[in-house]
């Protein structure tokens, strides 16, 4: 086997890997950018990253036995904590910016961490990803809320970046250990 023959498939593999790495990079950059806007409370700019047909959903999680695990989360159409389309998200943003949004004035301090980013499907101009998140919020002088969970997001190609077309949030809490969820995940 010549040297050339050995190297050829490896180069091909590298190109595919580079493509995947490039997509991974683009996706992560989008997620970081979006998280930074939320942490900076630039909600209007965050909305610009949201697609017209978004489904922003956080079902209710229950403590169930292993044999009943199919009922752990509520299903679409049943009760949820968030079940929003774009107009609802616009209302949430308008509310957050209102001078009378008492639950966020003085504003909470939030930090959105995103990790374990896995690309699960690329279909046409849409990328489905599965990520872990940690949303840490402190409020007033001594209040701390800490929410971790898993998200499945759908990012849709838009010009040189993406638009968020779906965000399904699976929180690691059953009883929400906070007095409200006045923030965005």
């Amino acid at each position: 086997m010549s040297t050339r023959e050995i190297h050829k498939p490896a180069v091909k593999a590298d190109l595919a890997l580079l493509e995947r790495a490039r997509l991974q990079y683009e996706v992560e950059q989008f997620l970081y950018e979006e998280a930074a806007l939320l942490d900076a409370q630039k909600y209007q700019e965050w909305l610009e990253l949201v697609a017209e047909d978004i489904h922003y959903w956080m079902p209710i999680r229950r403590t169930v036995t292993r044999s009943d695990i199919a009922h752990e989360f509520t299903k679409p159409g049943d009760m949820a904590f968030f079940d929003d389309d774009r107009s609802l998200l616009e209302m949430r943003v308008k509310k957050l910016m209102a001078s009378s949004a008492w639950s966020e004035d003085p504003p909470s301090r939030s930090r959105h961490f995103v990790s374990n980013v896995r690309i699960v499907e690329v279909s046409g101009d849409e990328v489905t990803i599965d990520v872990c998140f940690h949303l840490h919020r402190t409020r007033l002088n001594s209040e701390i809320d800490s929410w971790t969970g898993r998200r499945t997001d759908v990012l849709r190609r838009h010009v040189s970046s993406f638009r968020l077309a779906r965000r399904h949030i699976f929180l690691d809490q059953t009883v929400i250990l906070a007095k409200n969820m006045s923030t965005l995940f």
Binding site: M58, P59, I60, R62, T63, V64, T65, D68, H71, T74, K75, G77, D78, M79, A80, F81, F82, D83, D84, L88, M91, R92, K94, K95, A98, S100, A101, W102, S103, T174, V175, I176, L177, A178, K179, N180, M181, S182
Partner: protein, 455 residues
């Protein structure tokens, strides 16, 4: 259950508890929202005696279906057995006290303790003990070691309640006209079912602040102004500050909030079913506020006009914005769990159901556009009850005091028609005082019966 009220418990005796709320002035002592000893007395005198909401029949349709709830701080299993009967059992093994159910809902053939394997039937009977012959040497009286059952379980229109007190009156009598009107509000559009998913969250506030707030239509315009600004609700269209209707009931139940003027209800009464549907459509609300004929039968001719908030004493709020019930479960004097149950008429079209579920999701619950702002008010109000100087200041519940007449309407239903007021809050704390000092059921019943013509 009779309590020894004259004996001071943790320093609280009958007269010192009575002084905590002055019905003549509306001053409420802030210690009711922070004192540990009062909280422990509440567990015994209010939660262990009163009827507590457990769940709706639709949540446990089949044999073995169970739902975990609480009576005060006692965790209970609400379970349907093989005969179809609903049992409410304390979720604690008779051997060492371990919890039988650790899931919050599910289906079980029996309840097996994870500690030593004691096994209980759906009716609570002890049916299996590992080592019964070999280690206990057949000397165990299994009959006596079934799961502890609550004293009584009864339902009204499919809503199950339980009490730990064998002396408690029937659920029907406990609810009385006002409580039955309140539950009737949920069933006014026909038989109902609970939508899958109970929203639960913890707020660092006293449970009574969360309860009295539901009567408070004064805070809506200010606390919830941002939901209005956001375009989510048009508060002026739901508030009707000059058309408030209050119903005060035995045992401390009350309904407070907007009420349709009598003339408007008379107009509705003259409409046919089809005409009512047309009128409701024109109002473009997920739950039309034009109630069908059947509503008058279960809410009464006056109660049917109420668009307000009932509270079934002590801690069950009913709201008709999305047809929901919210339990305010005490977790110590400074914490409360809120559990939201969402209800839809079984006959609702898929579209109507979808709209009702959406409304319920977006209105209340921890992410609800209205409720987000309540928690901070309640937690900061609770916090202020512990300061040495602050707790001496009291809370002021005097709005409308002594200024409104009680009217007795058709069927003997009694109500107050007025502007925004604090009658409901005063009624709640007045009843709280009686429950905390009342020695027996007849005392509580008599002391919470409305005798005054003015409130």
């Amino acid at each position: 259950m009779n309590v020894e009220a004259p004996v001071a418990v943790d320093g609280w005796d009958e007269s010192s508890i009575k002084r905590l709320f002055d019905t003549d002035t509306g001053w409420l002592d802030r210690r009711v929202h922070s004192d540990e000893a009062l909280y422990r007395l509440e567990m015994e005198r209010i939660f262990a005696r009163g009827w507590n909401f457990m769940c709706h029949e639709s949540q446990i349709p089949n044999a073995g279906d169970y739902f975990i709830n609480y009576i005060g701080e006692d965790q209970v299993i609400v379970v349907r057995d093989e005969r179809g009967q609903v049992n409410v059992l304390l979720n604690t093994c008779r051997h060492r006290g371990n919890a039988l159910c650790r899931a919050e809902r599910g289906n079980a053939k029996s309840f097996v303790c994870s500690y030593h394997g004691w096994n209980y039937g759906l009716d609570g009977r002890l049916i299996g003990v590992p080592g019964h012959k070999t280690y206990y040497r057949d000397a165990l009286d299994r009959e006596r070691l079934g799961l502890a059952r609550v004293a009584k379980v009864e339902n009204y229109l499919g809503f199950y309640f339980a009490t730990l007190d064998a002396d408690a009156c029937s659920l029907h009598d406990y609810l009385g006209d006002v409580g039955r009107t309140g539950i009737g509000m949920l069933c006014a559009f026909g038989d109902v079912e609970v939508v899958d998913g109970i929203q639960k969250n913890v707020i660092d506030c006293n449970w009574k602040i969360a309860v009295d707030n539901l009567f408070d239509w004064y805070h809506v315009m200010y606390s919830h102004a941002s939901a209005n600004t956001a375009g989510f609700v048009e508060l002026s269209k739901v508030l009707f500050p000059q058309n408030q209707m209050v119903m005060l009931g035995e045992y401390g139940h009350a309904i407070s909030g907007p009420g349709l003027p009598k003339e408007m209800q008379n107009q509705i009464n003259s409409l046919s079913h089809a005409e009512r549907i047309e009128m409701a459509k024109a109002l473009d609300h997920p739950l039309p506020r034009v109630r069908p004929h059947r509503a008058s039968e279960i809410m009464g001719p006056e109660g049917v006009r109420s668009m307000g908030h009932p509270n079934i004493f002590p801690n069950l709020w009913i709201t008709l914005e999305g047809l929901q019930m919210c339990l305010r479960l005490p977790r110590g004097p400074k914490h409360t769990e809120l559990w939201w149950f969402t209800i839809v008429p079984k006959s609702a079209s898929p579209d109507a159901r979808r709209r009702m579920v959406q409304m319920a999701t977006h209105l209340f619950g921890p992410a609800g556009l209205l409720e987000q702002d309540d928690g901070e008010n309640w937690s900061q109000s609770t916090r202020a009850c512990t300061g040495f100087a602050g707790r001496e200041l009291g809370e002021f519940l005097a709005m409308g005091l002594g200024q409104d007449k009680v009217t007795t309407g058709e069927n003997g239903q009694r109500y107050v028609e007025t502007c925004i007021n604090e009658h409901g809050q005063r009624w709640f704390y007045r009843a709280w005082r009686e429950w905390m000092t009342g020695r027996d059921w007849s005392h509580i019943q008599k002391s919470t019966a409305i005798v005054n013509e003015t409130v």
